[in-house]
């Protein structure tokens, strides 16, 4: 979708469940199969109980902005072409310790170009959405809710 954009590997056994569900437009969060603690980004072992048992819990994908950045040139050409854009870190309502980066999108067509720092604020509500960027990758993006 964006020429030259770096894309995540989506076939790693560690996190392919995330990317598989992402292609279906659903957010799942890795959680410990024993103690149940959620963790992000995915990793092989639970840092709380050292279990290697993994589950993936469905998450409604509502969140608030923990922080954000507004990158400006000089950037990689792929990103320079889409400025101004904003990357937000969304803290999930279900577990605010789970913080997921994604571009902020707006409008009926979920456009990410055209947003500036004045359009967002920390604490603003978000809803996750997945945008297909290649045949095997849908990236998480954040739809902006109303300013608080």
């Amino acid at each position: 979708m964006i020429e030259g954009m770096p894309l995540p590997a989506t076939d790693d056994p560690l996190d392919r469940e995330f990317w598989s569900k992402a292609r279906d437009g659903k957010l799942v969060v890795q959680a410990c199969g024993d103690c149940g603690t959620s963790r992000f980004p995915p990793r092989p072992m639970c840092p709380h109980c050292q279990s290697e048992n993994v589950t993936w819990r469905d998450d409604p994908g509502t969140a608030t902005i923990w922080s954000f950045a507004t990158p400006r040139p000089p950037l990689l050409p792929a990103f320079e072409a889409i400025t101004p854009y904003i990357t937000v870190i969304g803290a999930l309502d279900s577990d605010p310790m789970i913080r997921i980066a994604g571009m902020a999108v707006t409008g009926a067509d979920d456009a990410f170009t055209g947003l500036t720092a004045e359009d967002v604020e920390i604490g603003q509500p978000l809803t996750i959405h997945f945008q297909t960027v290649s045949p095997d990758c849908a990236l998480p993006v954040w739809r902006l809710g109303p300013r608080i």
């Binding site: 770096p6 894309l7 922080s67 507004t70 990158p71 000089p74 990689l76 870190i89 980066a101 920390i122």
Partner: protein, 381 residues
Amino acid sequence: MFKDKTAIVGIGETTFAKNLEESEFQLACRAIKAALDDAGIAPGEVDALSCYTYEETPEFEVARSVGMGDVHYLSQSPHGGGAGCGAIGHLALSIAAGIANVGVVWRSRKRGSPTKRLWAGVNSVVTDHWKWTRPQGLVRPVDEVAVLTRRYMHEYGLKREELAEVALAMRKFARNNPKALMHARALTLDQYMEARMISDPLCLFDNCLESDGAIALVLTRSDRATDCAKPPVYIHAFSQGMTAQHQLMTDYHSADPLRSSSWACAENLWRQSDIGPADIDVAQLYDAFAPLVLFSLEAYGFCGRGEAGAFAAEGNLRAGGKLPVNTSGGSLSEIYLHGMNLATEAVKQLRGDALTQIEGASTCLVTSCDTTPNGALVLRN
């Protein structure tokens, strides 16, 4: 076992420039030879080598070019900006433990060309932890630090006018340092406030230089150090630091992301040190980005949490302030060599021959990058 058992006895620097003709290999050799000459130690005496994992000149090439003898200890400290104090500390440990006798640490880097910037080499398929931020638009280190700075501003009310003082204070020191890349360029608060944003709230002047050069240091046992050509600078305390749940640069996932790896490093550093924060005369704080200086001031205990902006704005980072910081101009205004110039400036201050000499300086804190696994040193004369 460790405290004051080793000393920095030689420092060497190449020319600093936006673009140098020589290769990183050539520059490394030149800086190491200069450091050995400064110490009055022959290359054949060197038996320990330490560098960064990001260093691209291999140890064997350096050793066989400079003419070192048999080497007994080889070490690398992780990453780039976080590695400097670790690389020095590892050498000091090997010497204090009796494994090695004379150690050399170096950093050679050509970064002036835009193609040399780390982020310019972002792969088209991202397989490691960067997959969770780079495709999402956090492409460069400045974007990653902007996220933390924005959050810090939200929590503590830091103003851009306060943050500006970091760049302004470093530039003032650089104006007194002919080697500094920004020696000839004055910087005013108005210029800072009107500068273009690179990643809001970070503007051009909050970013380190892109530059070429190399720096080396020579360490040896304290009882050997007093025979060297220059006065020894003793390594009093050392620690590395990495907080629980740390993630490199994009450290957004711990319970308190603004409690950076510097906090872990600082607690263990001061635990070992007879010299406390109140006893530090001058500091060299890693400054690839201006906010890292503020974060480090708090982590190392020079002011309370959320108070670093006001501390800086009161003029405390300048000559005559409570804690002069980055007195050669630092990474923002002298040279960006992943912090190695901070170590050589510390040595100059404690030898008493710095260009902006802090009167009576007898203790200096040197730190590495706040937002990566890092390290710090307490040095004294």
